[in-house]
C-alpha cells in the first residue's frame, strides 16, 4: 500500500505523521435537453501526508503513486515554514455508529438509472411538451482511510442522488425550476421531484409584482440555504471565530437569535450523504448544538483551530485534500408550527422566495445576504399571486433571525447539507424595477 509506504518513510524523519487516503468511484448519468447525453465513470484517489516536525505542521497531497520519497520531501519542505501545531493527534479507533453504506448502491444497474431519468423526463414532457429538462443521476462509493501511530481506521460510504431542472422560454422570458434529492441508498422520491417541478411551473404561469420596501418574506429551505446559509456558515466556523472575524465570536452563551430558533450540526444521521463515523482527522462525529433557543452554544472546530481556542474538536475537520478546516456537515433547524399555506395565509403583502441568484456575493462575514429573486411569488391577502421578476432582496442574517415572524412546521432536506422548515422573516428589503 502506497500510503503505508509513505507513512513509514515519514515517521523516520518527523515527530508525528498521518496519512489520509481518500478514494472514490462515481457513476453519473447525464441527461441534457430531454435526452441522455453521457454515462460516466470517475475514479479518483488522493493521498495527503500531514507531519509535525519541530512543532510545525507540514502538509502535502498527491494523486501519484510513483515516488514516496518525493511525498515525504514535500511534507518536510512545508513543515519548515508551516503553522505551529496547537494539538496532539488523538488516538484513532473511536467511532460513532452511523449507517452510511448501502450495498444496494454499488450494485444498482446503470440501466435502471437511465430508465429513471427517462421516466421523469417523459412525465414532465407529458405535463408540458415545451420544457427543456436536464436530469442527472449518480451513484458513488468512497473510502476514507486514516493512519497514524501504527493504527489505521477507515470507513466506506455510498451516495445516490438525482437532480432535475426544467427550463421554459416564452419570448425573452426564461423560467428555471429545479429540485434534487440525495441519500446513501438508491431511494429517490421520484414522485416528489415530479410534483415539486410541476407545482412550481403551475404557480409561475401567472406573474405578479410587489412594492419596494420592507416586506414579510417567506424563505423555502433552498432559499434559506442560499441567503442566511453562507452567513451562518461563516459565523459558526471556528476559524472565523478564532480570527475574531465572526460577528458571533464574543457571543458564546448569549441570546443572539429569536428564542424559537435552534440549529445543530449533525453528521450522525443514518443514510445521509454527509454523515460519517469520524471526521477527516479521525475524530468521532457528534451532534453539535449551535443555537439553542436563540442562544449561541457552540462553534465548529477541527483539531488545530480548537487547539488555538483552548477548545476541543467538534469532529468537524474536513478536507478534500491538504489541511483540514472546520466545516458544517448537515445543518438541522428545529421545526416550528404551521404548514406553508398557514404561513402564507397570515401575510397581507409579501414575497415567497424559492431561490435566488447571487446569494453568496454579499458581505457574508457581516451577515449580509442579497440577490436577484430567481424564482419567487407574490403573496397577496394570504394567497400566492404570481411569479415576480426583476426583484432583488437584501438583508442581514443576524438582524432578520433575531425576530422571526414564523418558523414552519414541515421540514425537508436540501441536498445533504440542510434540513429545515420554511421560515417567514421580517426586515428583508425588497426592491423591484416595477415600482
Amino acid at each position: 500500500m502506497f500510503d503505508q509506504q509513505v507513512l513509514e518513510l515519514a515517521e523516520k524523519s518527523t515527530d508525528q505523521a498521518e496519512a489520509f487516503l481518500h478514494s472514490s468511484s462515481t457513476t453519473p448519468a447525464v441527461f441534457q435537453a430531454n435526452k441522455l447525453k453521457s454515462l460516466e465513470t470517475k475514479d479518483s484517489r488522493s493521498l495527503t501526508l500531514r507531519v509535525i516536525k519541530d512543532g510545525r505542521i507540514g502538509v502535502t497531497s498527491t494523486s501519484r503513486t510513483d515516488d514516496p520519497d518525493a511525498v515525504v520531501r514535500d511534507a518536510l519542505a512545508s513543515a519548515q515554514f508551516g503553522a505551529e501545531a496547537q494539538f496532539e493527534f488523538p488516538p484513532l479507533g473511536e467511532r460513532t455508529e452511523v449507517d452510511v453504506f448501502d450495498s444496494d448502491t454499488p450494485a444498482f444497474p446503470v440501466e435502471r438509472m437511465v430508465e429513471a431519468g427517462r421516466e421523469l423526463i417523459s412525465r414532465l414532457l407529458d405535463y408540458n411538451p415545451d420544457l427543456l429538462i436536464d436530469v442527472s443521476l449518480d451513484k458513488s462509493q468512497s473510502e476514507t482511510r486514516i493512519s497514524r501511530d501504527g493504527v489505521t481506521d477507515s470507513y466506506m460510504r455510498t451516495g445516490f442522488g438525482m437532480s432535475v431542472s426544467a427550463n421554459l422560454i416564452r419570448g425573452t422570458d426564461m423560467l428555471d425550476v429545479f429540485s434534487f434529492d440525495v441519500s446513501c441508498a438508491p431511494e429517490i422520491d421520484m414522485d416528489g421531484l415530479f410534483t415539486e417541478i410541476r407545482d412550481k411551473l403551475e404557480l409561475a404561469k401567472e406573474t405578479g409584482s410587489v412594492t419596494s420596501g420592507k416586506l414579510p418574506v417567506v424563505f423555502t429551505p433552498i432559499a434559506l440555504m442560499l441567503t442566511v446559509g453562507p452567513a451562518l456558515g461563516a459565523g459558526f466556523n471556528g476559524k472565523m471565530v478564532e480570527q475574531g472575524a465572526s460577528p458571533l465570536a464574543a457571543k458564546l452563551g448569549e441570546k443572539v437569535f429569536d428564542e424559537r430558533l435552534s440549529i445543530h450540526d449533525d453528521a450522525t444521521l443514518d443514510k445521509r450523504p454527509r454523515s460519517s463515523p469520524f471526521d477527516d482527522e479521525g475524530v468521532p462525529t457528534r451532534r453539535v448544538p449551535l443555537v439553542e433557543n436563540g442562544v449561541v452554544s457552540n462553534f465548529l472546530y477541527d483539531l488545530q483551530t480548537a487547539g488555538k481556542m483552548g477548545a476541543s474538536s467538534t469532529g468537524n475537520g474536513y478536507r478534500g485534500r491538504g489541511s483540514p478546516s472546520p466545516s458544517s456537515t448537515a445543518a438541522v433547524i428545529g421545526a416550528g408550527d404551521g404548514s406553508m399555506e398557514e404561513i402564507i395565509a397570515g401575510i397581507e403583502e409579501g414575497l415567497l422566495v424559492e431561490y435566488i441568484l447571487g446569494g453568496g456575493q454579499s458581505n457574508v462575514l457581516r451577515g449580509d445576504f442579497g440577490g436577484n429573486v430567481h424564482l419567487g411569488f407574490k403573496i397577496e391577502n394570504g394567497q400566492l399571486a404570481g411569479r415576480v421578476k426583476d426583484t432583488l432582496i437584501a438583508g442581514n442574517a443576524y438582524e432578520v433571525l433575531a425576530n422571526i415572524r414564523q418558523i414552519g412546521g414541515e421540514r425537508r432536506w436540501v441536498g445533504g447539507s440542510l434540513y429545515c422548515p420554511p421560515v417567514a422573516l421580517e426586515g428583508v428589503t425588497v426592491s423591484t424595477k416595477a415600482s
Binding site: 435537453a33 460516466e40 501519484r64 503553522a83 472575524a245 462575514l365
Partner: protein, 454 residues
C-alpha cells in the same frame, strides 16, 4: 506517452474517441490573518477517455494509467448505452503540435523560502494600513501542468502551462460594521508579476477601511458607469455565457433569440473572445479537443456575429468550430467555455462619459457575479455616487441586476481606455470551477440599470 495513448486508441470501435493525460505540480501559500495557515506542494497525475457513439458520450476518468485499452472499451460501452441518432462533430484538420509554456520567468525557479518572504511583506503591508483591519486571507499559488492529448482523427498535442496568481481579501471592522477589499494578479508567463505589489495590498486594505464609513446605496434604477474590471465581468457573466453554444443548440427558443446577424446590443458595442491572445489567463494554443484557438467576434457594432463552440455544438449548428472546448481537469469532459473575453475600446473619454451623468452610480471592481440565462446579478466592491458629472461620496453594498437583452441595448457610451484585467478570473460552469479566464474592457455606461442596496 504518445505511444501509450495512441496504442490504446487504436482498438476503439466508437464513432470518435480521445484520451487526455495530465501531470501537474503546484505550490500554494495561504495566510489567514497575519498567520501562515498553509504552505506546500501538491502533485498529481490522471487522465480520461471520452468516446462517442451515435451522439451519446461515454467518459472514464482515473488516476491510475494502467490498462488504458480497457478504459477505452468502457468509455465506448457507456457511449453505446447513451447512443441516440448520430455523432455530428465539426471537421477539424488533424494536427500534431507541441506547445511549450511561453515563460519569461518561471515560478519553479524561485524557492519556497523566497516566495514566502515576498508574501510575508504583503501581509505586513495590508495590516500596516489601519488598526481597523480585522482579518485577511492572502494567498500565493503557482501551477505547472502538462497535458497530453490524442484523438481518433489523428490529432496529437502536448501543451505546457504555467500559472501564477496572488491576491487576497482584507476585512476591516469598526463598531459592528464589516467591509472588505480585494486584489489579485495573475500571469501565465511571468513570476515577476508577484513582485512589488505592496501598494496593491495596501490599496485593498484602505478600500475596506474607507467602505466602513460609506453610505448604503439607494435602491432603484440609475445611470451606471462601470470601471473596466466590472464591465468585463458584466460582459462575461451577462452575455458571454449566452454565447456558449451548448446553451443554445438544443434549445429552439434560445436559438430564435440569438440569431446570427440580429441586432442584440447598442451599435457602439463590439465583443470578442480569444484564447489566441499571448499570455493571458485564458490563453492556449489548442483546446481540450485538440482544436486550434483563434479570435472569435461575438458582437460587432451591436450585431450578433458569432458564438463559442465545441466540435459537437459546431457540428450540430453547422457553424465553424471555434476552439472553446475546455475542461478544468482530467476529471471532467470538455464543455464550451469562454477564454479571454473583451469589450473593444470606443471613442469617448472617461471624463466625457461621466460628464453627462446628473445623478448616477460609478461602480469599481467586483465581489462576484452570476447569471441564469436572461437574468444577471453582480456585486461591486466599491461604488461612488455621480452628481453633475463628478464622482461624489462612496457607497457600499451595491448589487447590479437586470435582463441582459435590455441592458446590452442600454449601453450608451464606451470609453477609449481598454485594459485587460490583470487579476485573472475564475469562471464556474457545470461544476467545473474555477476555470482560468481573462477579461478586458474600457469603462462603459449603462443608461438604465437596477441597483439593489443593503
Amino acid at each position: 506517452m504518445r505511444d501509450l495513448i495512441e496504442t490504446a486508441l487504436r482498438g476503439h470501435d466508437g464513432d470518435y474517441c480521445e484520451i487526455r493525460i495530465e501531470e501537474s505540480a503546484s505550490t500554494s501559500i495561504m495566510y489567514r490573518g497575519k498567520e501562515l495557515e498553509d504552505i506546500g506542494a501538491t502533485t498529481g497525475i490522471g487522465g480520461n477517455v471520452r468516446a462517442a457513439v451515435k451522439g451519446g458520450w461515454g467518459f472514464v476518468s482515473f488516476n491510475d494509467l494502467d490498462d488504458l485499452d480497457e478504459k477505452v472499451s468502457l468509455a465506448v460501452r457507456q457511449a453505446r448505452l447513451a447512443a441516440q441518432t448520430e455523432t455530428r462533430l465539426a471537421e477539424v484538420e488533424p494536427v500534431v503540435g507541441v506547445a511549450g509554456a511561453e515563460v519569461e520567468s518561471d515560478a519553479a525557479d524561485v524557492s519556497l523560502a523566497d516566495k514566502k518572504a515576498i508574501m510575508d511583506e504583503y501581509v505586513d503591508a495590508a495590516w500596516s494600513v489601519s488598526d481597523k483591519i480585522q482579518t485577511s486571507q492572502i494567498y500565493y499559488s503557482d501551477a505547472h501542468k502538462k497535458k497530453f492529448f490524442a484523438n481518433s482523427d489523428g490529432t496529437y498535442t502536448e501543451q505546457d502551462r504555467m500559472y501564477v496568481r496572488t491576491g487576497g481579501v482584507v476585512v476591516a471592522r469598526d463598531n459592528g460594521e464589516v467591509q472588505q477589499g480585494r486584489t489579485s494578479r495573475a500571469s501565465t508567463s511571468d513570476f515577476n508579476i508577484v513582485r512589488g505589489l505592496h501598494g496593491e495590498f495596501e490599496k485593498a486594505a484602505r478600500s475596506a477601511v474607507s467602505l466602513l464609513d460609506a453610505e448604503p446605496a439607494k435602491s432603484g434604477e440609475f445611470t451606471v458607469v462601470l470601471d473596466p474590471t466590472i464591465a468585463s465581468v458584466f460582459i462575461h457573466e451577462a452575455f458571454g455565457h449566452l454565447s456558449e453554444a451548448d446553451h443554445v443548440y438544443e434549445n429552439p427558443k434560445l436559438r430564435d433569440l440569438l440569431v446570427l446577424g440580429d441586432e442584440i446590443a447598442s451599435p457602439i458595442l463590439t465583443v470578442a473572445d480569444s484564447a489566441a491572445e499571448a499570455s493571458l489567463s485564458g490563453s492556449y494554443k489548442y483546446d481540450d479537443e485538440g482544436t486550434p484557438s483563434r479570435k472569435n467576434y461575438l458582437i460587432q457594432e451591436g450585431r450578433l456575429v458569432g458564438r463559442l463552440h465545441s466540435r459537437e455544438t459546431a457540428g450540430n449548428m453547422n457553424e465553424p468550430p471555434t476552439g472553446n472546448a475546455r475542461a478544468i481537469t482530467y476529471r471532467f469532459p470538455p464543455i464550451v467555455r469562454m477564454t479571454n473575453t473583451s469589450i473593444e475600446a470606443g471613442e469617448t473619454t472617461f471624463e466625457d462619459l461621466l460628464g453627462d451623468v446628473a445623478d448616477g452610480v460609478y461602480v469599481v471592481n467586483w465581489l462576484g457575479g452570476q447569471t441564469a440565462m436572461e437574468m444577471f446579478t453582480f456585486r461591486a466592491m466599491e461604488a461612488y455616487a455621480i452628481r453633475n458629472g463628478r464622482l461624489a461620496e462612496p457607497l457600499r453594498g451595491v448589487t447590479l441586476t437586470g435582463n441582459v437583452f435590455e441592458t446590452l441595448k442600454n449601453i450608451d457610451a464606451v470609453a477609449d481606455d481598454f485594459m485587460w484585467d490583470p487579476g485573472g478570473g475564475g469562471c464556474g460552469k457545470g461544476g467545473q470551477a474555477p476555470l482560468a479566464v481573462g477579461a478586458g474592457s474600457p469603462h462603459i455606461r449603462v443608461a438604465k440599470c437596477v441597483i439593489g442596496g443593503v
